[in-house]
């Protein structure tokens, strides 16, 4: 049975793999010349390769890694010893290690209480994370008419939840709607530590640390990584190596992958999806069409208008998809010297994520700008220097730096992103100068990817890296639209498998795996 998958990002590839494995004949149609979607590696300067967009993994669900045998297909995951390094402007810094007891030993130098609290926090996050993680792999139940299976999986979740201690049950309930600033305020004294942890609650979100429900963000990330410091898994060769391996696994399982195949229309007859039309004019028919594109692109540009119920279409239009993230990639002649990272320890300290956003107020001010349609003059940065652990990415002694920039709202109130592109790049470099003086002299090449580029080049509507705001009105059974969270759509045989579906955060492959399970259920039902 032929199935067409629109988009060869990580979720599209995971879906293709599982469908092929089950004996279907998936064809993945990719608009660009390469697979990977947002998980790609590009040469940004001769000899310098960098994860163009996403730069760490959230991480991939272990089941997917095993099923796809990603390691056999060439992926090498690296888990840096320092998960997060957070320099302060005063030369002080914080390092959160992969090993929480090591972090505690470091924190103890400042405060024994803080060290104890960190361990307790890490443990709490791990425990709660394990329970929430099971939410990530279920298909959200139907809200209108839950099936027996839906009720069963809800009952299982409720049981797991009630398996937590009473204190942790209440933590989940309280933390979910909370502002992450208040959450970290209950745990920690040090503003730098508070801000470093709180950043997990606003990563990729149109929210500041004082925004309600950023606690939910933190919990969702905790569900994926279960670590007090957050995820920082890298892949050798950049994230493009991951999706290349996924593509190889999918092909081996029997999937066909066609680059340069831009889908411009989903063909619908009598309320059923029957195939797609490509930009070249070619029409391909398929028994099922699975879109890894975001919900707005799928329903508002690919599905012919008129095929959707107007009420549904208006809900899709109201789906919030205005991004706040830009990306800057640098080719550097040498490793930048962070004031807070002594030369002898630099390679270790700079091996994971580097968090720039030294105070809760700093992060909040960075967000303030976005509310008024401007980008932050002092942005929150989440960066990696992957060449520290993976020398294959840059010539000897040289480095690449990948910088996730917040806040850069997709909709600017004044001017366009092409006018602001270089100014944004300058602001990022100026911000970095505060922590790594002299970095601007090391820059050989600078690539600035604005939210407008994320939409036009990479196909992310609204420039949103998660295919739509991860807010509670767009979580779980509401993602993307209440009543349509089971990866099915109002058009028969048309499915969604991208980040615009549950759980839909970061590079985890979870949406693709869940979607393929539902598609296979339908296929089997029809025989």
């Amino acid at each position: 049975m032929r199935v067409l998958i629109i988009g060869a990002g990580h979720n599209g590839l995971v879906t293709a793999f599982y469908l092929a494995k089950a004996g279907l004949k998936p064809t993945v149609l990719e608009r660009r010349d390469r697979v990977g979607g947002v998980a790609i590696t590009d040469e940004i300067h001769p000899g310098f390769r960098c994860s163009t967009l996403a730069h760490w993994i959230a991480p991939i669900r272990p089941q997917i890694v095993r099923d796809m045998e990603l390691e056999r297909h060439g992926v090498r995951f690296t888990q840096p010893a320092v998960r997060v390094f957070a320099p302060g402007p005063d030369g002080r810094a914080l390092a959160l290690y992969d090993d929480p007891s090591r972090t505690a030993r470091e924190l103890e130098k400042q405060s024994a209480l803080e060290a104890r609290r960190y361990l307790e926090f890490h443990d709490t996050i791990a425990r709660i994370g394990r329970v929430l993680n099971s939410v990530r792999s279920v298909t959200p139940p139907s809200i209108q008419s839950p099936s027996g299976g839906d009720l069963w999986s809800l009952a299982k979740l409720a049981r797991r939840f009630r398996g937590l201690s009473r204190a942790n049950q209440f933590r989940v309930l309280r933390w979910f709607p909370m502002a992450v600033a208040d959450l970290v305020g209950e745990w920690f004294q040090d503003d730098l530590l508070r801000a470093t942890i709180a950043a997990r609650g606003i990563f990729g979100a149109c929210a500041g640390p004082r925004s309600a429900f950023t606690g939910a963000h933190l919990l969702m990330h905790a569900a994926a990584d279960g670590h007090g410091a957050g995820a920082a898994t890298l892949t050798v060769g950049g994230l493009g190596a991951l999706t290349a391996a996924m593509a190889s696994a999918a092909r081996e399982a029997g999937a066909e992958i066609r680059p340069h195949a831009e889908v411009t229309r989903i063909l619908v007859a009598n309320g059923r999806a029957t195939g797609v039309a490509l930009a070249s004019g070619e029409e391909i028919s398929g028994r099922a069409i699975v879109s890894a594109a975001d919900p707005q692109r799928t329903f508002l540009s690919l599905v012919p208008s008129g095929e959707l119920d107007p009420g549904f279409a208006s809900k899709v239009r109201n789906y919030r998809v205005s991004g706040v993230v830009a990306k800057v990639n640098l080719a550097l002649a040498a490793l930048p010297k962070f004031t807070a990272a002594p030369a002898d320890g630099a390679a270790l300290l700079l091996s994971g994520r580097i968090h720039v956003g030294p105070a809760i107020d700093y992060l909040e001010r960075a967000f303030d700008a976005a509310k008024y349609g401007a980008w932050s003059s002092e942005p929150y940065l989440d960066l990696t220097i992957p060449s520290v652990t993976d020398p294959s990415l840059a010539p000897p002694g040289a480095h690449v730096m990948s910088i996730h920039v917040q806040f850069a709202p997709f909709r600017l109130r004044h001017g366009t992103w092409s006018e602001h592109r270089e100014a944004l790049g300058d602001t990022v470099v100026r911000t970095l100068e505060t922590y790594a003086p002299g970095i601007s002299q090391l820059i050989l090449q600078r690539q600035v990817i604005t939210p407008a580029d994320l939409e036009s080049t990479y196909g992310l509507t609204g420039g949103h890296i998660f295919h739509g705001e991860l807010a509670p009105d767009q979580f779980f059974a509401m993602r993307p639209i209440l009543g349509w969270a089971s990866y099915r759509t109002p058009i028969q045989n048309l499915y969604l498998c991208g980040s615009g579906t549950h759980p839909g955060d970061g590079v985890t492959g979870a949406s693709g795996a869940n979607a393929s399970r539902e598609i296979l259920k339908d296929v089997r039902k029809r025989g």
Partner: protein, 526 residues
């Protein structure tokens, strides 16, 4: 002399609590620290001839069953309609919504035809949502972690009621519970000033901005106000807000409760983990079989009890409970009426609320300043001139004007509220004078209340008018402390009955009534 129940605090919730207990035959004593009853629902003649509703100034949320059961109209409560909301705009235009639906529609259509249509739909949807939430107000919140089947059945019943909603209503309900007021209103409306003014009700009393998630819920809170069965109307009490407290106090006394003013409680007395009475500031000890505190948990548990004798995680929960006042109040005695440039003269527009909320950005910027510990230089102000509707509260020809102001953060980054009081007052007047330039020349007296004054004078910790923020992590079974939302406390026979308990603040009376039911249940079992 021994009482069945001592109620600490003679605010509206304490009085409601006492009235229900007395009606059930309990011997009740209410102790009020101040010389006047009412707590934050109080009328005081601050300047001769001018009666101010000093703190709370409008009413809409008071539960109809309480009005009925306590027969408040017979005890002298009369609610006068407050007609509409008038929003002056800096460009000389205005938005004026009134209780007359057709007229409001025409007015909104003047700004946007689409919005006028959406306004009807919106109203209908909100009424539906209000219907869903309303029964929850009178409910003792179940404990979701408990294995008590009664609690689970309650949760299941809630889930079933939710399940019975249409898909669209479910969607709205989830959006209301989670979105920001502006994100929610953006789905319906395009007129900026309309959204700004509607969103204002979502931020009153909270330390949140109109773009902060969680504020949409409070929009609904304000749609639940019922007056004589009419959804969504606001009113003024004849004689000021204090008249409501007086009526409740009369009802309580008529049922046999004793009410004392100038009787500050210093301490709650406990014996082997059971509350046995209170000690007054003058040293008198009064015994009772139970104590019901209408004060906030910080006051009740950290000041009136020895926290060391309470379970550690409970005390942590009390300390974590966020009060964070964000509002202030300016009360003015006026020689004449303010004259708004955009709609001159003493028209009907002055009989409603005048809302200084000209744009969404204006509202959000006001919040931004407060986030960093300054009061807003250009605040949101909700102005009411009650003397136009109720001439009894001011000398003939003169007026009383109440200005509710946000944001005024309790914690200032620089300086203290004692030093900033007058500057704060000037800021409010400057703000209103931009729209009504004659204001400053008609002021006879002014009273400025900062969050610090609200704390000192009215016992509202950190100046929070709702005895604790109405944010989701402090609502329903999480209010005030997770696991202690059923009006009971770790101290046996000590109860909470104030706005810090479910369903929260405003002149609603529901906490006082719900707590009375809990107390009656427990004492019946004895």
């Amino acid at each position: 002399m021994k009482y069945d129940v001592i109620v600490i605090g003679g605010g509206h919730n304490g009085l409601v609590n006492a009235a229900y207990l007395a009606r059930a035959g309990r011997k009740v004593l209410v102790l009020e620290r101040r010389h006047v009853l009412g707590g934050a629902a109080v009328t005081e003649e601050v300047f001769p001839g001018f009666k101010y509703s000093v703190c709370s100034y409008v009413v809409s949320l008071l539960r109809p069953e309480i009005i009925r059961e306590l027969d408040l109209p017979r005890h002298g409560m009369e609610i006068l309609p407050l007609d509409g909301t008038f929003t002056p705009m800096p460009d000389g235009d205005y938005l004026w919504r009134v209780n007359d639906h057709a007229k409001t529609r025409r007015e909104i259509a003047r700004h946007s035809r689409l919005d006028a249509e959406a306004y009807d739909e919106y109203g209908k949807a909100m009424v539906e949502m209000g219907r869903f939430i309303k029964p929850m107000l009178a409910m003792t919140p179940p404990d979701p972690t408990s294995r008590d089947p009664r609690g689970l059945l309650k949760l299941l019943a809630l889930a079933r009621r939710f399940q019975a909603l249409t898909l669209d209503d479910k969607d709205h309900q989830i959006q209301l519970m989670t979105m920001s007021a502006i994100d929610f209103l953006d789905r319906w409306f395009e007129t900026d000033v309309l959204k700004a003014t509607m969103a204002a009700s979502g931020i009153i009393g909270t330390f949140l901005g109109v773009r902060s998630a969680g504020t949409a819920y409070v929009l609904l809170h304000h749609y639940m106000g019922e007056l004589d069965g009419a959804f969504r109307s606001w009113g003024l009490a004849r004689g000021g807000t204090g008249a409501i407290s007086q009526a409740i106090a009369d009802a309580a006394r008529a049922a046999g409760a004793e009410v004392r003013t100038n009787a500050a409680v210093a301490r709650i007395v406990t014996k082997e983990g059971t509350a046995t009475g209170v000690v007054l500031a003058n040293g008198d000890e009064i015994h009772a079989s139970a104590v019901s505190s209408s004060l906030d948990p910080h006051r009740t548990f950290l000041k009136m009890l020895e926290p060391a004798h309470l379970p550690g995680d409970f005390v942590d929960g009390v300390r974590r409970y966020k009060l964070r006042g964000s509002s202030g109040k300016v009360n003015l005695a006026l020689d004449a009426l303010p004259d708004f440039t955009c709609l001159p003269g003493p028209g009907r527009h002055l009989r409603g609320a005048v809302s200084i909320s000209p744009s969404v950005d204006y509202m959000e910027r006001a919040y931004d300043e407060a986030k960093y510990g300054r009061f807003s230089r250009r605040p949101y102000v909700d102005v009411v001139i009650p003397s136009l509707t109720d001439p009894s509260i001011a000398p003939p020809g003169k007026h009383v004007m109440s200005c509710f102001v946000q944001y005024a953060p309790y914690h200032l980054t620089e300086g203290s509220w004692d030093d900033k009081r007058e500057e704060f007052g000037d800021t409010i007047l400057d703000t209103i004078a931009e729209y009504a330039p004659n204001l400053k020349s008609i002021i006879l007296h002014r009273q400025v209340l900062t969050p610090l004054d609200l704390e000192r004078e009215f016992g509202l910790t950190e100046g929070n008018i709702f005895q604790g923020e109405l944010t989701l992590e402090q609502l329903f079974f999480l209010r005030p402390v997770p696991g202690w939302a059923a009006y009971r406390t770790p101290v046996r026979r000590l109860y909470m009955c104030g706005s810090a308990t479910h369903p929260g603040g405003g002149i609603m009376g529901a906490p006082g009534r719900n707590a009375a039911m809990a107390i009656l249940r427990d004492t019946r079992l004895r």
